[in-house]
């Protein structure tokens, strides 16, 4: 992308957020929001924006906010510079066909301002609704009969998305290094076998366990088997793993 501003030219007062993070500032909802705020603060006419002044203010503001990594803000800064350059191009006073290079920006700002008005309204409405509670207690009822099914395509597609996200997440996310905790897993297995002589894999690993938990449990089982505290067997391929307490090998 275009990098019109050297992000190191001015030292940002805060540590800039790491690149690649989704940046959502509590102050501004986006570059247009920041621009509108500047236009208000500087008390300039939206139909006759002094581009150079606003551009300098804009860049100063994004540095002050530590926004040097935010592509969207930098893109807007670049756009302002481009408009300024276009306005500097020579033109004759009588040039009827001259298009103000600021026109598109003004159109977008007005459109955005309209949305901000709608946001203010929605905020009021939502606050009003938030301040009233709906019924929360659910009365017990006897077994309700089976009702006909309601299911929309949107729901099915949302489910597809959830599945894909869960299935693919490990591949697209940074791996968080997490050391195995074999000792705790050994304690868990021992606790289970203290209560019963036989257990299954599911008894020692919770549903939805993280990979490090699964590995910890596996190593714990192998370690305890090695120490003779338990026996592991699988009656058939793919059958559930059975864990049995080895009575002769009671460890301390």
């Amino acid at each position: 992308m275009i990098q019109p501003i050297d992000p190191h030219a001015v030292t940002a007062p805060f540590d800039a957020p790491p690149a690649g993070f989704l940046i959502e500032l509590p102050e501004y909802a986006g570059p247009l929001d920041l621009l509108l705020a500047l236009i208000r603060d500087e008390r300039v006419d939206i139909y006759d924006i002094p581009v150079a002044r606003i551009c300098i203010q804009f860049v100063a503001r994004i540095h002050a906010l530590g926004l040097n990594e935010a592509a969207e803000y930098l893109e807007m800064a670049a756009r302002l510079l481009r408009i300024k350059v276009q306005m500097l191009l020579p033109r004759s006073e009588t040039d009827e066909g001259w298009d103000d290079p600021r026109a598109e920006l003004v159109r977008r700002l007005l459109e955005y301002q309209q949305i901000r008005e709608a946001v203010d309204l929605l905020e009021r409405l939502s606050e009003d609704r938030r301040n009233r509670f709906a019924r929360a207690y659910i009365q017990a009822s006897d077994a309700p009969p089976i009702a006909p099914l309601a299911m929309t395509l949107a729901e099915l597609l949302a489910a597809v998305d959830r599945v894909l996200r869960v299935a693919k997440e490990p591949a697209v996310h940074d791996v968080i290094p997490r050391s195995l905790d074999v000792d705790s897993a050994i304690a868990t297995v021992r606790a289970v076998l203290l209560l019963r002589s036989h257990a299954r894999w599911r008894d020692v690993v919770r549903d939805g366990a993280e990979p490090w938990e699964v590995l910890s449990a596996l190593l714990a089982l192998l370690e305890l088997a090695r120490r003779g505290e338990l026996r592991i067997q699988q009656p058939r391929p793919f059958a559930a793993v059975e864990i049995a307490r080895e009575s002769t090998g009671e460890a301390a």
Partner: protein, 180 residues
């Protein structure tokens, strides 16, 4: 109260969500729509004039009993109920665009907001406030988003038409004294 009003009250009390007028009417197949309406009016008036802690609200194409706002702080302080979290500025802005421009695709929303909205669209979809309503024409047939009935509930709107028209906002903007 009339027997029909009592039945409606019982049904509305039992539900956490608004109940559509048609659903309320189905409770008593012999009641005419006018009778249902007048029973609802009776119930609302009873809550209002007889001094109740709850009121009848006309929300999202249906009816719902809600607590009166004046008790909310006290109830929350006693930890008997919690107000839901507020939507973020980014979510509200995206919702506003979708509400006014639906059906609308992601690219168009990003054009208006000037920022990437992928994550916001996903979170709004997960909260059930928006959904994919159709697919656009053109390259890649983009998914188009629209608001859901839950959106109306969230903002206690009866229907979308209750929102002021977008150009009414524009008028408000131009009517402001120009600072220069």
């Amino acid at each position: 109260m009339s027997p029909l009003a009592k039945l409606l009250e019982a049904a509305l009390f039992a539900s956490a969500r608004p109940i559509a007028t048609a659903e309320l009417a189905a409770l008593d197949p012999e009641a005419s729509p006018a009778a249902v309406q007048s029973a609802l009016d009776e119930l609302r008036e009873h809550y209002d004039t007889d001094g109740h802690g709850v009121e009848l609200a006309d929300v999202g194409g249906g009816w719902q009993i809600l607590t009166r706002a004046e008790y909310t702080e006290t109830i929350e302080r006693a930890q008997l109920a919690v107000r839901p979290a507020r939507l973020s500025a980014a979510s509200l802005e995206t919702l506003a665009i979708i509400a006014y421009r639906q059906p609308i695709g992601r690219a168009e929303i990003e054009e208006i907001r000037g920022v990437n909205v992928g994550a916001v669209l996903r979170s709004l979809t997960e909260r059930g406030l928006i959904e994919v309503t159709s697919r656009g024409e053109g390259l890649g047939r983009p998914l188009l988003y629209g608001t859901t009935p839950l959106f109306l509930e969230h903002f206690a709107l009866r229907h979308l038409e209750e929102l002021p028209r977008a150009d009414e906002f524009a008028v408000a903007l131009r009517a402001e004294p120009r600072p220069m």
